[in-house]
Subunit: 163 residues, 3 copies
């Protein structure tokens, strides 16, 4: 199937530590992304309980929490992944890569769209926290451990607190 | 039972992403708090091994590690929760809310009371690390990713390193 | 067996919260270290898939991800551990202690040796992120939440961003 082919290709392309095709099967992202696809489908059909049930099950198996409401583009990849939290109204473009411990969360101040929008080709380092209904522009790189609380321009490299 | 009623009410009140009562059942905090209550009871009766056995089991299921010795007030809530560590001599007041990745830990310098005291109505953002036998005053807000190494006054908003 | 004796002794020596020998069995580090030893053996014999399969299984059970390729010295200990990621080409000396949430990772810029070398007697606090093929010198202490991107001299105490 094309879905699995693409998923395997994305993982192989993005992780330098991989030794064979088969290894892809043990990647937490491989599992969580399949769960997310089903949960997102249920969410769109307003089966909120079962959607959340699946996303919680995926989190237990992988350490990665993707809310079923999040909208995610092509060639998305999360390396390692433990501690990742992606909120309900997050929007993620194409070719985005996250490392473990990344939060795309809310501040408690916004209504409706409460979580970030991440544009194409963005990379977000380990432990970075991005909060609120803000936009991270295309090709931006968010350094490991950064805290981002306002819009990030395209091509920008962020290190440390950005507010 | 009143215990479950209160627990469900607390979760519903504090999470804007919730769609129904039933969803509460999939919350990691719902599970970990029930485990904690039993583990804390065992700990008070000096059944340390079984207390720790339960808290470790809860951590495996939820990603949240609450030492059975910690003392916790009313309407406590942890959102998401992966990576939370709450140390043995931590004391938490009423209406406290933590996000995922929060550490209430020790510095290795204190004896006996080694972990923080968190007063009523405190909110602690994702990934914040609070270390040592210090006091975080009532209504304080600790921003995501903050590092706190000394007492925080009441009503204070902390962002970044506070030492 | 000497291996288990040493492992139990290391854990007991390093965690002040421990109440009995038996408690060692519930420590995530106890489990992950046994998995790592087997996975590392398989890795050295080029059984990469099974090595990674075991390390992923260990991560699911403990929240601690140690790549089977990492080389680790004596009396190593990880307290709590959720969110720890140790990369493939990491080298760790003797008597090193990590807390939960520590990353020994890559920057994506190096080839071959992509991850840090941690010398003897180093302590690394919760949530610290150490990236790239750099050396953390003997007896150094890396504070909780620090971001380290360049070599750290012996005996140095690092707090905050170090680049």
């Amino acid at each position: 199937m094309k879905f699995f082919k693409n998923l395997i290709k994305t993982i192989k392309d993005k992780d330098p530590a991989i030794h064979s095709n088969l290894e892809v099967l043990v990647y937490p992202f491989f599992k969580v992304y399949i769960y997310y696809k089903i949960a997102h489908f249920l969410y769109l059909h307003k089966l909120y309980f079962w959607a959340r049930f699946l996303s919680e099950k995926a989190k237990k198996r992988t350490g990665i929490e993707i809310h079923p409401g999040a909208v995610i583009g092509k060639n998305f990849f999360i390396d390692h992944g433990t501690g990742v939290v992606i909120g309900e109204t997050t929007v993620i473009g194409d070719n985005v890569m996250l490392y473990h411990g990344v939060t795309l969360g809310g501040t408690g101040k916004d209504k409706e769209k409460r979580h970030p929008t991440i544009k194409d080709n963005v990379t977000i380092g380990a432990g970075a926290i991005i909060l609120g209904n803000i936009v991270v522009g295309e090709n931006a790189i968010i350094g490991a451990g950064s805290i981002v609380l306002k819009d990030v321009p395209c091509n920008k490299v962020v290190v440390g607190v950005y507010k």
